[in-house]
């Protein structure tokens, strides 16, 4: 009976609330955890600032809308629910854009850059030779894109080096351990 009484006290009904859509332009970045969006972390699913944390979002719809913060949260959730190189790459790419477009505070900027670098590196190490797909469905490699992005962020690529193959295309090969 104690449990019953305890449960009943102070619980009065509140009016139901309508749920509306999320304005992607209004989604703000809040640094929650420096592993967010980096495999194998799934911390984003517990992030109260992530509006997509409870269900798998339509990632391409959000990506194409052009709001990097919303994209980051969408890709982070997608990565947590289904770990692939493509998801990791776009999570890194979103962080990269948040950093470069200064969509976070100055204090957060330092961490966001490091998160982007780590996310790209994770994509290379955990999902080597991953590809993404164009709108027409044609695959294209994303590892070289990640390589270039690390370089553009002023980072050092670990474990991989870029070479040209016989067709003159850039490819990544692992660096031999000494």
């Amino acid at each position: 009976m104690f449990i019953l009484a305890y449960s009943l006290v102070g619980c009065a009904p509140e009016a139901a609330q309508y749920e509306y859509g999320i304005a992607l332009s209004d989604v703000e970045f809040t640094l929650f955890d420096t592993t967010e969006g980096i495999h194998p972390s799934v911390v984003t699913l517990q992030n109260p600032h992530n509006p997509f944390s409870q269900s798998m979002p339509s990632k391409w719809d959000i990506e194409s809308a052009g709001y990097p913060i919303a994209s980051f949260y969408a890709w982070a959730v997608t990565l947590a629910m289904e770990a692939t190189g493509e998801h990791q790459f776009y999570a890194a790419s979103s962080l990269h854009r948040i950093y470069s477009q200064e969509l976070c505070t100055r204090e957060e900027s330092y961490y966001v850059r490091r998160m982007a670098l780590e996310a790209y590196q994770t994509q290379l190490d955990s999902f080597p030779y991953a590809v993404s797909y164009s709108e027409s469905g044609a695959p294209f490699p994303i590892d070289t894109l990640a390589y270039d992005a690390i370089v553009s962020l002023g980072g050092d690529v670990q474990n991989w080096t870029k070479i040209s193959n016989q067709e003159g295309e850039d490819i990544l090969v692992p660096v031999e351990s000494p």
Partner: protein
């Protein structure tokens, strides 16, 4: 002189009269003074119960039994037995001619219910003119049938009917409580008086007696039964009946006889067999009968008696279970037996009244009996001819003084090997069942191939003390066949698996899981509590004893727990006695399939026309073990229910209140509202999406039910409201008949039910209606996305499900339903809707035809299923809003234990997962038992396969056929794996909707098997 006079009274043939003079009364049977040295005799093998039809057995079997047992009765000196109508007249004559034993025929006068115009009434209302007419007509028909049969001794009416006056009427309810019993008894005894006179009118050759419960209402007997010839009475007063004889003489002035008396052979205080005490009681009781018989200087009105009883009735405690267990539960207290009486405790052990002990039956159903001391003592007693003119009180005293029951203890123990039996009872192999199969099969991707399987079940029984009994069963595998077309079966736990060894090489692990604990049951019965602990052995629900919201669900799952290798149910149940009588507690990790680890407390009491109950159920953890999607996991709960019932004349009123779902108060949930035409909605879905928080008011529920019966018309109405969280359980009780429409059980509903049955002769018409609607409707799946027009992103909305949401709409989906059930059941005593009707039905033919239509205007929430990796997941949505209907039929043809049972169905049904296809299916299951032969044929058209995932994913076969034909080395039993040899086949065709989507495909299996068992 007296003997010459008596002889003159006698007529030729079967003629029994009472002679009375100043020295008392005696019976004269066919011209001879007849001291009733009677016995309550019956033949029920261990493992059978009240339904065992001895007189329906083959004639040769009956003759063998009678020749063996009646010879013993004759040797003891027993000269009469008591039998209910049903004994064929030629066997009455046979027993009389061959063994000189008379038969007293005992119509029961509605003692255990009455059948009127096809309706069986378990409580007999002796006030009802229809009841009185029906009973009178039936009784006189019996008399007509037997009266000219040689060997009939007399008529005995009823059996303690004065203890069964439980009906209600407005007139009687209006009387003060202490007068209500007498008022009812007036109707009983006035009926006796009428029937006695009518019997006298058609049969002057046999006296009429009644089997009263002791001397209760003796004044009413005097008033209403002036022509009663003999007062018969079931008397359990201990070693002496005291002033019984004198009171009968003074108030009735007629002779008396005991129709039941004696003592049980079990000491409830010491919790061990005590056959010596039984013999001592019987010795004293018979000495008193002799002393009070004709011309002994006493009252002189004792004609003799019928000792209760010949052999132990192993079925009497529980009556339908533990039939092969000699229960030691004492069921009522009696201070007349002080050797094992303790104030406030029961000491009468109903299963131990035999003057002989019995062995389990052999392969043909025969068993042996071993005389307890009581049987030897009776033999010695009867050597004294009660009506020899030379016998007086002094002679009797001397005769009985020489009889020493203890002299026979050694003989009984030696013969029955009591000590050895007890040692054996400490640990015995109770059953061995072996199943050897040879299986051939062919499937679309597998050519014809053969395999074999061996599966052995061992059951051990242990009795470390007299009040503690346990059974443990193990399953041992030999080879496990890899080719059955039904890929899920109990033994497949032992199939080989591929593993990596220490070197990383793949190897086949072929001998895993060879031994499994199959089931366990522990019973502990002591004066304070009856405990039953169970593991994979079933238990019943508490729906008929105050569990109005069905917290404690029945857990008898048949073969399902084997198929899915589920370790359910598991827990323990305690039924308290004495000062805590009415209190029950169940506790366990999974009390029924899907239950969380929990405990349930119930206190239930009946007081006159009132009954009430309080029930509490608390989950103490969350269930992590789910074996099949057939079972929906229970959300963690704490709940309370109160129940009140008032029985009025012809009407019962039941009310209940509920608080349920307390742990989920405060949780958020979503729901939808339809948007107005053209208005903005959630990503253009037409719905507004809302979220809310559950509050305490969502835990409340209430329910009311009124049942009424007026002659052959019966009806009920029920209404209920259960808040969003106020979950009850599924209703396993039956109201009047076998209706399928029931309350939803789950919370989040309002519901109303109403139905009626009306009997026309043996045909019953039963319409029934249901309306139910969830308080919060189902949550449809809505695809989210980005709206470029307003720059907003809309989240996906998933259908509600048990894995992620605090409540669901499943069984409680909005439904308006109607059903019509027609039943032909000319033997309502073996009710068609009893769970064991397949074996219990006695009617030569009984059948039913039902039609159910469900209008389902909305969808429901999502159910769960298993994916290919055997992980539980929730389906994205549910099948659409669709109406469904079904026709069901059942028919039984019986002749004794031989029978044909047919069950059929035809109708539409929805998948459990999210497939939209509505299937139209049909099926027929026919089983035939003839002696030791058994045949079964199951045919299904366009129906799901045998497993849960077939219905989850809507996988059907165009045609399925299963046949099974076997020969048994024993007659088939419902609850036993009797030794059998047989052949079974399965055949299925396939189409695009089958698990293997192959138009024109088929698969089949042929299996020969040998099952052996004890």
């Amino acid at each position: 002189m007296i003997w010459a006079a008596l002889l003159s009274l006698a007529l030729a043939g079967s003629n029994v009269v009472i002679h009375t003079d100043a020295r008392g009364s005696l019976l004269v049977a066919d011209g001879q003074p007849f001291f009733v040295q009677g016995l309550n005799w019956g033949y029920v093998p261990v493992g059978e119960n009240y339904s065992y039809d001895f007189w329906g057995q083959p004639e040769s079997f009956i003759k063998e039994v009678l020749d063996r047992e009646m010879a013993m009765l004759r040797d003891i000196g027993i000269n009469s037995i008591r039998q209910y109508p049903g004994i064929p007249t030629h066997w009455v004559t046979y027993i009389y001619n061959e063994y000189g034993i008379y038969t007293m025929i005992n119509p029961l006068i509605g003692r255990y219910g009455v059948d009127i115009e096809g309706v069986f009434y378990p409580t007999t209302n002796y006030q009802d003119p229809k009841v009185r007419t029906a009973i009178t007509k039936e009784t006189l028909a019996w008399v007509e049938q037997y009266k000219d049969t040689p060997g009939i001794l007399l008529w005995l009416l009823g059996n303690e009917n004065n203890y069964g006056l439980h009906w209600s009427s407005f007139e009687i309810e209006a009387l003060p409580t202490d007068q209500q019993g007498s008022a009812k008894a007036e109707h009983l005894y006035s009926l006796y008086g009428v029937i006695i006179d009518k019997i006298h009118a058609i049969d002057s050759n046999h006296p009429v007696s009644i089997a009263n419960g002791d001397l209760q209402y003796i004044d009413l007997i005097a008033q209403h039964c002036p022509n009663l010839d003999i007062l018969g009475s079931n008397v359990y007063r201990g070693i002496s009946a005291g002033d019984f004889y004198k009171e009968v003489q003074e108030k009735l002035g007629i002779p008396m006889m005991y129709t039941e008396f004696g003592a049980d052979a079990y000491n409830a205080k010491l919790m061990k067999e005590d056959s010596l005490a039984q013999a001592q009681y019987l010795k004293g009781q018979w000495e008193e009968l002799y002393m009070q018989s004709y011309n002994k200087g006493g009252v002189g009105n004792a004609l003799g008696g019928f000792t209760f009883q010949w052999s132990d009735g192993w079925w009497k405690h529980l009556q339908e279970s533990n039939l092969d267990v000699h229960d030691t539960n004492a069921s009522w207290p009696n201070g007349g037996y002080p050797h094992d009486y303790v104030d406030g405790q029961n000491n009468m052990n109903e299963e131990w009244f035999g003057i002989t002990a019995k062995t389990p039956p052999d392969i043909n159903g025969h068993y042996d009996v071993y005389w307890r001391e009581a049987a030897y003592v009776l033999r010695d007693i009867y050597r004294l001819p009660a009506y020899d003119p030379r016998i007086d009180a002094k002679t009797i005293e001397a005769h009985f003084a020489k009889i020493r029951p203890k002299d026979y203890s050694g003989k009984y123990k030696a013969e029955y090997s009591q000590a050895a039996q007890k040692d054996a009872l400490r640990f015995t192999v109770k059953n061995i069942r072996g199943e050897f199969s040879f299986i051939g099969s062919e499937q679309p991707d597998t050519a014809w191939n053969m395999d074999h399987m061996q599966s052995v079940y061992l059951t051990f029984e242990g009795r470390p003390t007299e009040d503690l009994r346990s059974e443990v069963s193990f399953n041992i595998l030999g080879n496990v066949a890899q080719n059955p077309i039904d890929e899920i079966y109990y033994e497949n736990r032992g199939l080989p698996v591929i593993v990596n060894d220490e070197e990383g090489e793949t190897v086949a692990w072929t001998d895993r899981n060879r031994l499994a604990l199959y089931g366990m049951n522990v019973e502990w019965n002591n004066p304070y509590v009856d405990m039953q602990a169970f593991f994979r052995t079933g238990h019943y629900h508490w729906g008929y004893e105050g569990d109005f919201f069905h917290f404690y669900q029945e857990a008898n799952y048949g073969s399902s727990i084997d198929i899915y290798q589920a370790d359910v149910p598991i827990g323990a149940e305690f039924a308290f006695k004495k000062g805590l009588s009415g209190l029950k507690i169940a506790i366990g990790p999974q009390l029924y399939w899907g239950a969380n680890p929990s405990y349930i407390l119930k206190y239930y009491k009946e007081t006159g026309p009132w009954a009430y109950a309080l029930v509490q159920h608390t989950d103490i953890a969350t269930q992590g073990n789910l074996a099949t999607s057939n079972v929906i996991p229970q959300l963690p709960n704490t709940r309370f229910a109160a129940y009140l019932k008032r029985s009025l004349p012809n009407v019962d009123v039941e009310l209940g209140g509920l608080v349920s779902g307390i742990p989920r108060v405060g949780q958020d949930f979503q729901y939808v509202q339809e948007a107005e035409e053209g208005a903005d909605s959630h990503f253009g879905s037409g719905y507004h999406l809302l979220h809310d928080t559950l509050f305490w008011g969502d835990t409340l529920g209430a329910k009311g039910k009124v049942t009424a019966q007026f002659g052959t018309l019966r009806g009920y109405v029920q209404g209920g409201y259960q808040g969003i969280l106020a979950d009850g359980g599924g209703d396993a009780t039956k109201t009047f008949t076998g209706w399928r429409l029931k309350e939803p059980g789950r919370g989040n509903n309002t519901h109303a039910l109403a139905g009626m049955t009306y009997n026309i002769g043996d045909v019953q018409i039963g319409p029934n209606f249901l309306y139910q609607k969830p308080l919060i409707g189902p949550l449809p799946y809505i695809q989210g996305g980005y709206d470029v027009n307003n720059g907003q992103y809309y989240l996906d909305v998933d259908a509600r499900n048990v894995l992620h949401d605090p409540f669901q709409v499943i069984e409680n989906r909005e439904t308006l339903a109607a059903e019509l059930l027609l039943t032909y059941d000319p033997h309502p005593g073996s009710w068609m809707w009893m769970w064991n009707n397949d074996v219990m039905e006695r009617a030569p033919f009984a059948g039913s035809l039902g039609f159910v239509y469900r209008h389902q205007p909305t969808i429901r929430d999502a159910r769960i299923g298993f994916n290919e990796y055997n992980n539980v997941f929730a389906f994205a949505t549910s099948p659409p809003a669709q109406d469904v209907w079904e026709v069901n039929a059942r028919a039984l043809w019986t002749k004794g234990k031989d029978r044909i049972i047919a069950n059929g169905y035809f109708g539409t049904a929805q998948a459990r997962g999210d497939d939209n296809r509505l299937i139209t299916r049909a099926g027929l299951d026919i089983r035939a038992w003839y002696r030791v032969w058994r045949a079964e044929c199951i045919v299904k058209f366009n129906d799901w396969g045998p497993f849960d995932y077939h219905r989850d994913y809507n996988l059907t076969f165009p045609f399925q056929l299963t046949t099974d034909f076997s020969y048994g080395f024993k007659p088939p039993r419902y609850d036993r794996g009797n030794p059998r040899i047989g052949i079974q086949s399965k055949f299925r065709t396939m189409d695009q909707y089958s698990p293997t989507p192959l138009e024109g495909g088929y698969e089949y299996e042929v299996r020969s098997y040998v099952h052996f068992g004890l």
